[in-house]
Symmetry: D2
Subunit: 263 residues, 4 copies
């Protein structure tokens, strides 16, 4: 049952998605008219509400984390769900993990990590731009996840405060400059993931990874294809997101001997 303070997603007949935090006695303006929030209180998730001049129907849903990140205020390129979910899995993030995320940007990946690590874990977020830092702080608060994240307004050229972290995500314009610092922050057997939008960055990052004790180096690219959900004319959508980023993964070891093949 929906109560005051809940975040709800209104899902319209036209596929539009509106996220609202329920406040007693208030109205919320949308492009389809005003929602009287009192009408939401006491309803069940999955139920319908009608509002606006045309009394348009909206389903009342609990917003998913994907809904939240697509809905958040952002000024940076977002990491797509297809990539975010694979990073979580490849970095083996689980309850209790300690994870570094840099740069934080709008905070979506920090939030994705935070949801999983829980109270026994911790996410350390490094961001050098104050506007992004503030934005991420606000977004994480809004998602109820800031207890699990320690945000730092800091350039990473001096390295990280932490050592022995389980995993680290490097999402900066010049990742090849920070590979040594990342190695120092990770525990033995810890995982690094690196966002590289261009093939040139992948090449530069690979060269650096081979200079330090990293093994099990993998490069992936993820093509998600969506289909029109019409059972009588099933076919992919005409156009798709063709590229977001290449993903580079590796595992820290304490020392490296020659001859470890990565093919």
């Amino acid at each position: 049952m929906i109560r005051e303070g809940d975040k709800v997603l209104l899902y319209g007949e036209d596929g539009s998605k509106i996220i609202i935090t329920v406040e007693k006695g208030k109205k919320k303006g949308t492009h389809l008219g005003h929602v009287n929030m009192d009408d939401l209180i006491g309803k069940e998730y999955g139920d319908l509400i009608f509002f606006g001049k045309k009394q348009r129907a909206f389903y009342i849903l609990p917003p998913t984390f994907i809904d939240l990140i697509f809905n958040m205020k952002r000024r940076t390129q977002i990491i797509y769900p297809k990539d975010a979910s694979y990073i979580l899995f490849k970095l083996d993030v689980k309850p209790g993990s300690e994870v570094i995320d840099t740069g934080v940007g709008s905070g979506a990946m920090c939030g994705a990590f935070a949801r999983v690590v829980g109270k026994e874990g911790k996410v350390y977020g490094y961001e050098r731009r104050e506007d992004f830092y503030n934005l991420a702080k606000k977004n994480l608060e809004n998602w109820g996840l800031n207890d699990f994240v320690e945000l730092k307004l800091r350039d990473i050229s001096q390295g990280f405060d932490e050592t022995n972290v389980d995993a680290l995500l490097l999402d900066v314009p010049d990742p090849d400059n920070y590979i040594e610092k990342c190695w120092q922050a990770l525990k033995g057997g810890g995982k690094i993931g690196i966002i590289c939008p261009t093939t040139n960055q992948v090449q530069q990052v690979l060269e650096k990874l081979y200079d330090y004790p990293f093994i099990d180096v993998e490069v992936w690219e993820n093509l998600m294809r969506r289909f029109k959900p019409n059972p009588e004319r099933l076919r992919p959508f005409d156009r798709m997101v063709a590229h977001t980023t290449y993903l580079v993964f590796a595992t820290k070891v304490l020392r490296k001997i020659g001859g470890v093949s990565d093919e």
Copy 2:
């Protein structure tokens, strides 16, 4: 530091991966020679061990969940990491979630859900074949995850015991036969994910989903492309996994009005 009872991954120069549970005073035979387990105790993760006639070098690593599922005993088609991670994200599984997984098969998806839902949540796994049920039980025990999973040796044609679950994964040969039962088990706003290896199954499932109050129906296919990690000759591997399954997702609502477009 590695102790008795720990699971360790030995990562060889040839890229081979061996998972061992450390037992004092015992040896473990591998295709590259015998490992004296006492040699592992007290070492750090990321360190090296040498064994076998040729004293081959192996890195000692903590196995990731992906390592564990590729290493497990299985008799069924595995859900690939690319699909498993996306399912977790799309079904919005988080600490505290209640999730139904059916059919359980070797238990990999049960384990993936269990790692995230934690103590406050629960995974209900339905499997009708006794051999799979026993195999999944053993795998989940082996991964230390069986506290979070309630396995049921049961056909789902009679439906599920649970109601109001947050999410449900349907991975059976005839998914279109169980859409109503799934709807009954889910909470309002709950998410369903359906594994459909063929386009015919997708069509059949879509038709059924439109017969019941489900909205926000999406069909996805995930193509993961891996690159040879050679910075001087960066290019994709010659061959790739071209198809595992289509993924269908939808959201339960309590009642449905006409005219909700899903394109």
Copy 3:
């Protein structure tokens, strides 16, 4: 050297492409100003011309067939170059081939076949809609290819006039209805190609193909990915054409024995 009557492509600094047939003493209006056609006469291909108020630079190029079909008047969905070229190759069209193309639509595939079959070959184009028939006629004339094509304003439900053709392209909304007629028109060992935008059509067409003596049945889908041609930031374009059509190919035999596996 460019002469009166030549078709030239003007390729602008902004990537725009304008196709002009050179006429003495005339001007051609474009969105970037007027071209004085006399200025083109006597120039070499690959040279520059400047026109319009801002004296914008344009390269003078011979238009390719791809340029011509993207520039033509059309009222129908075009077959993309990626698919057109593969069809030509798979149907083994060569100088001297006799080919049926139906429906003709705007005439692009007719033209693509005509360019290759030459004087010793022939393309038979069937189109039931008069407006498309007239459009295709005009386009083929414009490309100088109508000597190689015999266009027929005709529904194919009564079958084809020709027998023993080398290849046949079937591009109609209900291809599964014409498989027998196609078989009758083809020579033994002749090739059929079928345009199927949806998976449902592929399924229906496959069923019919197995009812008649066709072998070597193949289904393909072609994903062309384009990269931003920046050597310092090489990466795919953000978005791509994700789907145009599935392509089904098969070979006519005179009679079929059981048990020919098509996997």
Copy 4:
């Protein structure tokens, strides 16, 4: 009707393809038994022949050019049909075209060009290795195409004999070294296509293309996906060719002015 001297493709129930040149009174050994060639003479294409101990059925078909190149003797990496057909289309090769192909390798692309350019055109094939040169000569003879090709046993570091060619395909290990020579051989408005298996080569080639008067630079990658042709279980094959090469295309102009954007 099949005569002596014809090339026929025997297509077996198991999908195997055998190409035979019919000789009176001779037998041809295959892995499935001996074919008595006299049995083929007088038969129609599309008909059946039975041979071997088990009297296996084989369809008698005219081999396509794709059949011929997959069947030829080769010592080099083949250009796949998906790439060969797109190159033909993008380079706008047609009856009468003059085309340079280098390196020739086993001669497949030379043959593909030769089939289209016909008697009024010409293919100039440059190959520096004598073994490849001889192999290509034999293959082209075998396909009946050597009248249309002038093969040259020659290194291209000294450039090409021809000027004003319509199109040029560059398929050598170090393509960035020959961009100027290629420019010199092409006519104004002529097309170049470059085979680049790695991203590094693409980057190097792009840099050189921008140093010379080339415009309309495009980089493409072609993913062909094949489906299991089962109408009741339609789905892609499990594995696919994930990468053969990147394809770079550009157009020669006589001189270049600044500021032409290629995005």
